[in-house]
């Protein structure tokens, strides 16, 4: 236990001293999480609603694809993006490899399957009568979507929380396409990887502790929000 303990003490000292690089890494991590979760929510929820509520032929296939994309290995996403963004590649002119923008893109793509697949699942879990009734009463398609979203909001929040978690802790894709450059495009998770490689165990542990703390804070915050939203749901039917 001695080594872990002494490194832990050194790590806590590093956090308490307020290392400036640590703060910039935290800042960048929050930026990545906000952008990736935001993109995943804005793009993914409408797609999830369409798959969950739509009545088109390929709906089941789309849903199977969305579920399967949850198993997409991040390293594969990173490699795919690298091959697209590398200089001689189709999108090479954008010069995205080893930039912060590449990190934003990679984490957004990794977070997307969660919002799409889990929103679709949440919407399908709704009592079927409700939406049919709304349709029969002449609700337009956007109105049905809004109603479904409101009724399934606990599940949709769970989807957003899952997207958040991915954006926080995945490292493979951003290490590949972002290059994991010190002081530039490192998130807390990829900075941990970097510090271990460099043999700075105390720094790695310090960053890991901050990462766990951040996850606890964000997840608990989102969880509380989810419960709040859920309580309102319980009130609604009794009216």
């Amino acid at each position: 236990m001695t080594l872990l303990w002494s490194e832990l003490q050194a790590a806590v000292a590093l956090i308490v001293d307020g290392n400036p690089t640590l703060w910039s890494v935290i800042g960048f991590t929050l930026q990545v999480v906000a952008i990736a979760t935001g993109v995943a929510a804005i793009v993914g929820i409408p797609i999830g609603l369409t798959i969950g509520l739509g009545r088109f032929r390929a709906r089941r296939v789309c849903q199977a694809l969305a579920n399967a994309s949850l198993g997409l290995p991040p390293a594969l996403v990173g490699t795919g993006l690298f091959l697209l963004f590398a200089r001689p590649a189709p999108l090479g002119a954008l010069e995205l490899v080893f930039t912060r923008r590449a990190v934003f893109i990679a984490q957004s793509i990794l977070a997307l399957p969660y919002t799409v697949a889990l929103t679709a699942a949440a919407v399908q879990g709704l009592a079927p009568g409700l939406l049919d009734q709304a349709r029969r009463l002449g609700a337009s398609r956007p109105q049905v979507f809004v109603l479904a979203l409101r009724e399934a909001r606990v599940g949709v929040m769970a989807a957003i929380i899952a997207a958040l978690g991915t954006a926080l802790s995945e490292v493979a894709a951003i290490a590949i396409v972002g290059g994991n450059a010190y002081g530039y495009d490192q998130t807390l998770a990829s900075a941990t990887l970097f510090q271990v490689d460099a043999g700075n165990y105390a720094d790695a542990l310090a960053i890991a502790i901050v990462l766990v703390a951040l996850i606890l804070v964000l997840m608990c915050g989102a969880g509380v929000l989810q419960q709040r939203v859920g309580i309102r749901l319980r009130f609604a039917p009794s009216r």
């Binding site: 390293a75 490699t79 590649a89 493979a172 766990v212």
Partner: protein
């Protein structure tokens, strides 16, 4: 588009010609996935069943803890396990730091939350009357557990799929604990990480990525098919 095509076709050709590097990585990946998933099921299943069926104080707290452990970042698990396993660490005398054994250990730890957290969820999804009836008819605890697992098997397969998926595609912990040594404890996914950090773009990377995609599709696809078959059909017969 020529570049992308050249990379992908180059990678596919390497696989077709049985490139030893790619197939070596595949072999390590399959071993890591099977060993760590099997170990996670063996260790986690009893805990999951107790959490799902038990009626003791603190059950809910334990279940919340199990669910929360799903959000554990692999890099954090990797750092802690590494500091335990390095020669100066508490478990350093085991001499498994930077070996394939260490990779097995850390991937098992990462797969464990899926089994422990998803088993109770699956069991709690079983019609409650069924288990109560079995209890009332005097089923022993072990019999009850077997019954619950049999009824919840679709959920169980889902848990195994999740554990297997994590074992195949996670790299954060593997890289930290195993040291990502070529031809030794590198998996398909972790080798991609190592190669690209040097900015290298020979078709091997594309080949490894294609192989990883094939592995994920075959492994997880066949298991989900199994879940549909074994669960859905027999269950429907009994219900009818």
């Amino acid at each position: 588009m020529a570049y992308l095509w050249q990379q992908c076709s180059g990678g596919a050709r390497l696989i077709l010609h049985g490139d030893p590097i790619i197939f070596g990585l595949l072999w390590v990946t399959v071993r890591v996935a099977l060993v760590s998933t099997a170990a996670a099921v063996a260790i986690g299943l009893p805990f999951g069943v107790v959490l799902g069926l038990g009626r003791f104080r603190g059950r809910r707290a334990l279940q919340i803890l199990a669910n929360a452990s799903l959000a554990l970042p692999p890099v954090v698990v990797g750092v802690v396990v590494l500091l335990l396993l390095v020669p100066q660490g508490a478990l350093g005398s085991l001499r498994i730091g930077f070996t394939l054994t260490a990779v097995y250990v850390v991937q098992t730890i990462l797969a464990l939350p899926y089994v422990v957290a998803l088993t109770p969820a699956a069991i709690q999804g079983v019609a409650p009357g069924l288990l109560d009836q079995a209890r009332a008819l005097g089923a022993a605890r072990l019999q009850l557990a077997v019954l619950a697992l049999r009824e919840a098997r679709i959920g169980m397969v889902a848990a195994v799929i999740a554990a297997l998926g994590a074992a195949v595609s996670e790299v954060g912990a593997v890289v930290i604990v195993g040291g990502n040594v070529v031809g030794h404890d590198q998996t398909l996914a972790s080798s991609l990480l190592a190669n690209f950090t040097y900015g290298d773009t020979d078709p091997h990377n594309a080949g490894i990525a294609i192989m990883l995609a094939i592995l994920v599709i075959v492994l997880l696809g066949s298991l989900s098919l199994l879940a549909h078959r074994s669960g859905g059909i027999r269950l429907r017969f009994r219900g009818g």
